[in-house]
Amino acid sequence: MRSSRRAAFWAFLLSANAVRAEPILSPTNIFAPVSTPAHEVHSLSLFVLTITGGIFFTLSALLIYALVRFRSRPGDTAEPPQIFGSTQIELAWTIIPVLLITMLFLGTARVIFAVEDAPKPKAALEVVAIGHQFWWEFRYPHYNVVTANELHVPVSSAQSYRPTFLKLTSADVMHSFWVPRLAGKTDLLPNRVNEMWFDPQVVGLYLGQCAQFCGPEHGKMLLRVYVDTPAAFDAWIRAQQTTHADAKGANAALSVPNPNPVAGFPVNTPPTLGGTNGDLANNSQAITAPAGQQVFEHQACINCHTVAGTVANGRYGPDLTHLMSRDTIAAGIAKNDHDHLLRWITDPNDLKPASLMPAMHLTDRQNEQITAYLLTLR
């Protein structure tokens, strides 16, 4: 047991270029890079550790030697010889650090320019990441896809090199995008666009979180990056591109004008809002998806959330069009299943005490109905 732990410890320290799906100690270990920027930083860090480690051992050895060798002995009251300095020695310990710093600086500068000024290949995937208090919005401008908190990117292999280039900005305060195994962090600032990139070489899920204090729930602004095979990524994109305009059920599309407009309502008001749907009117107490959709669209939910293809087109909160394609809710803090959704809708403060989503104070039945509706948003 102990020896295996020790081996694990050394493997952790020496994992220079090892690529593992599951890193030792933590899924966010910076010493387990899987992408070029993280690799570059990792090799540089080993170089810096070697130099600083050398300085540390040399100086501590000298310090300990001096403390032991030159301790005062009992009874010896004579003063030691007074030495006021030595130009040669002082010059030496000025020049040696200058040389070490030159090495460190040149090594660092190489990595800064290699990572920060890397040219963007034509094939690169472009994603816009927008920080919000306290969640992430991801937009794929070339695919017309919007999602939240869980970023999907393709793997970069020798056969198909497809790095991801992120444009980062913020809707409110400063945030910082940090997925340690993919790249160093880059801040998201309001009124400004920053850029970063990574080219993950191993398929898998990579965790991270906001790394710039952004308000009360900064600690629960988690990040998940799914690195998919090219085929899986394309399938995911296609699935995300569908809307609920062609969904079956009582609530069809907004794009189609309401065939039976009701006096006093705009023509494109969906049937549910006009109360013209007989089926639903009879079943408004049932815990079903259509009933849930009716509650969802009658409440303030739609002011903040979008469900593409319905009246819900709010921009303030996460896009829910394909909510059930995500594994987690509330920026990665809870599993996306019936129980957690219900808890979240009933009172977001239960899972995330200072979340900006208010508790809507609906009835238990209405909460159940909305949950039933959300569970259909695949």
Partner: protein
């Protein structure tokens, strides 16, 4: 009474105050009144130090609350809102209400004594500076009561000690909590500038006869540099606070990004102050080491001119490194490279200092008093803090380490392992001078070893979760991240340090009343403060001293081998 150890020119009769202190020492109120109206640099120095020690206990308690919350994943001991207030107050208090006042306190107390003056150059400005700083501290803590104003319950500021915009703007921080923070630091800055001007004026114009600048002990030299930095650095902070208040109340848009303001602008302003601030705090720690290490090694400081040059060099270089706090904010590659290089340059003068302290120990006869133990702890920890500093200056690596617990570990290594250890050393070293009583060495050793074990348990381990991806300022974390076990031990270490500080408090109170009488020169020191009584009389020196070398008391004690002969 004190025996005169400084030669009195022409043996002036009655130069020393031989009168016994009166039996009746005044009523309680008279005593308080005496402290409130005093303009004596020693009393003001002691008030600064006591004020800072009280806030050290407060901010230390806040740190322990943080550690309770972080000891377990998904802990609900403290709510996120309260947690954010606590770490903001912990950071702000430790920097502005503990670090700066305690260092100004020692400077106030020691500089006139060391340069053979009877007071600071501007005694009334001195008292004003202290009282406005005290007001600032009380104002900041009043925010716990008055924070949200009349309409809500009180709260403290919750924006982090560097208060990045636009989180501090009205839409994101309603109420008055940020106002308390801004106004309090503004007032504190006025006090700091006053004291800095005072120190500079005192050093340039009040030195005793024979004390050229290059015969000054190193402590005043370091305080001179530090005061220069205060003058340069506090200005941008004050300007930023005024701009923030203009934004919040007069419709300005400096940092209001919703109206086209810039959040980077705040970061620049804050760190143009914030990085020199680190040196404002750490330079006095160097100053204490410069005085304490030679005395307990029984050797003169090695390379005095190099030490002066390194101190002033650090001061200048530290003005050009601030953006190394902003490597991830989206600077150009050239900007990142420039600030990498400038930051690395700091390590050259700092290295010179470290080597010179080592060379001072070399060939000495080292006495391990408590003050010396803390200084040795400082040397070792300062080395590590410097090396992790080099790691962070490597901007590419900083993209990973920035805002992680590695950074928290690094700056606590500087602030606790470096500065606080030297403050403890200074307390053990100068307490006898300030009170006339020795601190108990046995309790001192307990304090040191508890502190050392607690410190290393907490801050050595704290580097690890940083490397494992734990960001700072999070109120809780997920159990699957592998950070739990580290945080448990970090919290344990925190409580050991808390116990160590309580030992110090007990020791100070106990020794103040019951400690052994110190006499004027308990450590066999060499600088002028040891030539007068402990505690020194109001006028410090009966006759203004005359010096002929850097170590006037060495010359006196060793007439066969005086420094003045080699200079």
């Amino acid at each position: 009474m004190a025996t005169p150890t400084i030669p009195i020119p022409d043996h002036v009769e009655g130069a020393f105050d031989e009168t016994q202190p009166p039996k009746f020492r005044g009523t309680y109120l008279e005593k308080v009144h005496g402290w409130v109206v005093t303009v004596d640099h020693k009393k003001i120095g002691l008030m600064y130090i006591s004020y800072a020690l009280i806030f050290l206990l407060v901010a230390g308690a806040e740190a322990l609350a943080i550690r309770v919350q972080l000891a377990r994943p998904e802990n609900t001991a403290i709510s996120p809102l309260v947690y954010n207030r606590i770490f903001t107050m912990h950071g702000t208090t430790m920097v502005f209400l503990v670090g700066m006042p305690i260092l100004f306190g020692f400077g106030n107390y020691l500089i006139p004594l060391m340069i053979g003056a009877r007071d600071m150059a501007f005694p009334r400005l001195n008292a004003f500076s202290f009282w406005i700083s005290a007001f600032a501290g009380i104002l900041l803590y009043y925010s716990f009561i008055g924070g949200l104003g009349l309409s809500g319950t009180g709260t403290a500021p919750d924006v982090g000690w560097f208060a990045y915009a636009p989180l501090t703007e009205k839409p994101f921080s309603p109420g008055h909590t940020v106002d308390y923070w801004a106004v309090s630091l503004l007032a504190n800055g006025i006090g700091s500038i006053g004291t800095a001007i005072n120190i500079i004026a005192t050093i340039f114009s009040m030195r005793c006869k024979g004390m050229t600048l290059f015969r000054m002990p190193l402590l005043p030299w370091v305080y001179l540099t530090m005061s220069g930095l205060v003058l340069v650095a506090i200005g941008p902070l004050t300007a930023a606070q005024v701009m923030l208040l203009v934004d919040r109340y007069l419709g300005g848009h400096f940092f209001d990004t919703q109206m086209g303001g810039s959040s980077i602008l705040w970061a620049h302003f804050f760190w143009i102050f914030g990085h020199p601030e680190v040196y404002i705090l750490v330079l006095p720690a160097f100053a204490f080491a410069n005085e304490i290490i030679p005395v307990f090694s029984r050797k003169a400081i090695f390379g005095y001119p190099a030490m002066v040059a390194a101190t002033v060099g650090i001061g200048f270089i530290s003005l050009g490194v601030w953006a190394h706090h902003m490597f991830t904010i989206g600077m150009t590659s050239f900007g990142n490279a420039f600030f990498t290089l400038s930051t690395m340059l700091v390590s050259i003068p700092t290295g010179i200092k470290t080597f010179n302290w080592l060379a001072t120990l070399w060939g000495g006869k080292i006495r391990f008093t408590t003050a010396m133990l803390f200084s040795v702890g400082f040397l070792f920890q300062w080395l590590i803090a410097g090396l992790t500093g080099i790691m962070l200056s490597v901007s590419a690596w900083d993209w990973q380490l920035h805002n992680s617990y590695f950074v928290v570990a690094h700056f606590h290594y500087v602030l606790v392992g470096g500065i606080l250890f030297m403050i403890f050393a200074a307390i053990y070293y100068w307490f006898p001078k300030m009170t006339g009583r020795m601190l108990n060495e046995r309790l001192g050793k307990w304090h040191f070893w508890l502190m050392l074990v607690g410190f290393h348990l907490t801050f050595d381990l704290m580097h690890v979760p940083g490397v494992l991806g734990m960001p700072r300022q999070i109120y809780t974390y997920q159990a699957d991240r592998g950070w739990t076990v580290w945080n448990e031990f970090i919290s344990l270490g925190g409580f050991i340090q808390g116990a160590a500080v309580l030992v110090l408090v007990y020791n100070m109170v106990h020794s103040y009343f019951r400690g052994a009488v110190a006499g004027p020169d308990p450590w066999d020191g060499w600088t002028l403060e040891w030539s007068t009584a402990s505690p020194p009389p109001d006028y410090n020196f009966a006759v203004e001293p005359v010096v002929a070398s850097r170590r006037p008391l060495w010359d006196l004690k060793h007439p066969e081998d005086p420094d003045s002969a080699v200079e």
